[in-house]
């Protein structure tokens, strides 16, 4: 097996997902009251920063199997965009508007990018670079 040291992409990815899940629970647990978007925005921003950090850390892995990564991640991206689109449809159907919709939509974008990244990384780390 490949003994190279890899950055903790899975752990960071799960932490990033946990932050957007927490933001979603914070917003939905306070319905129908209008709560401050601040905490949700902070959680989303932290989640996005972690995602960016994760992507950056993957680019720094020497000899990473990018071909395999993209082969898997692009199809996963398609699947998770469909799922995110489904959830977005529910938000719009439920008349979610304004800042809340923006936060939730951006959270879905983080979700739809980060999950395929984790899948692509898990596959590529056990593959040989072309």
């Amino acid at each position: 097996m490949d003994d190279r040291k890899y950055p903790p992409v899975t752990q960071v990815g799960m932490a990033s997902l946990a932050l957007i899940v927490a933001a979603g629970i914070y917003l939905s647990a306070n319905l129908p009251e209008h709560v401050s978007l601040g905490p949700a925005e902070i959680l989303l921003a932290l989640s996005a920063v972690m995602m960016a950090g994760n992507l950056l850390s993957i680019t720094r892995v020497k000899g990473f199997a990018w071909e395999r990564f993209f082969a898997v991640a692009r199809w996963s991206l398609l699947a998770y965009v469909v799922i995110a689109g489904m959830i977005e449809f529910v938000f719009i159907h439920n008349h979610v508007r304004g800042g809340t919709l923006v936060v939730l939509t951006l959270s879905l974008i983080v979700f739809a990018i980060h999950v395929p990244t984790l899948i692509g990384f898990t596959v590529a780390r056990y593959s040989q670079a072309a």
């Binding site: 997902l17 899940v21 959830i87 899948i119 898990t122």
Partner: protein, 208 residues
Amino acid sequence: MVSIARDPASEPRPEAVHAGPPPVIPDFDIVPRVGLALAGVIIVALIVVVATGGLWPLEFMHVVFGAGWTVIDLFLGFIIGPILGSLSIPARIEFTVRFMPKMVVLMPAIVTATLVAGWQLSTHLGTNLTSYPQHGWVVASMVVVGVMAIIALGLLEPANIGVLIELKKPRPNPQVIERLMKRFIYSAGITGLMQVATFVIMTKLASS
């Protein structure tokens, strides 16, 4: 759980397995077309049910897919996992190439259907509002589901696809397959345990 734990003396060392002739792996599709079609049907049905907003279809979708999700997690984590660990390597491979592709497409669709229908049902019944007397239990269910989703998305699904991609290679590495299968089964076991918490919450809500 998946203890691929048999008598260590009789078990071939992974390196030895990797060095020997490659195991015979039946041909398989990583993403089966039939499963993809089924997932498509589930998603379309979900859109129709949400758009029409009828109580019975929402309840049906939530209960049926929620039950499916729970049963699969419990069965996989506590029944299939230990059995799989006691099988010979060719048998494990045979099972994996038939079972895992189905999980790749069906589980995300089942989980999405459960959560979306559950949220809409909650909106329909007003149980997601702070005025609902058992609101704390509803929030607890969101937390439990949130944790399960993170485990499923971060560990389970990548391991599932990783195993299948490895098995598609001309010379799969048994160590990689074993590591990812362990991750898959342990994750399913943890989400299975968390499903017990869902049972507690949902039965409490249904009886209040």
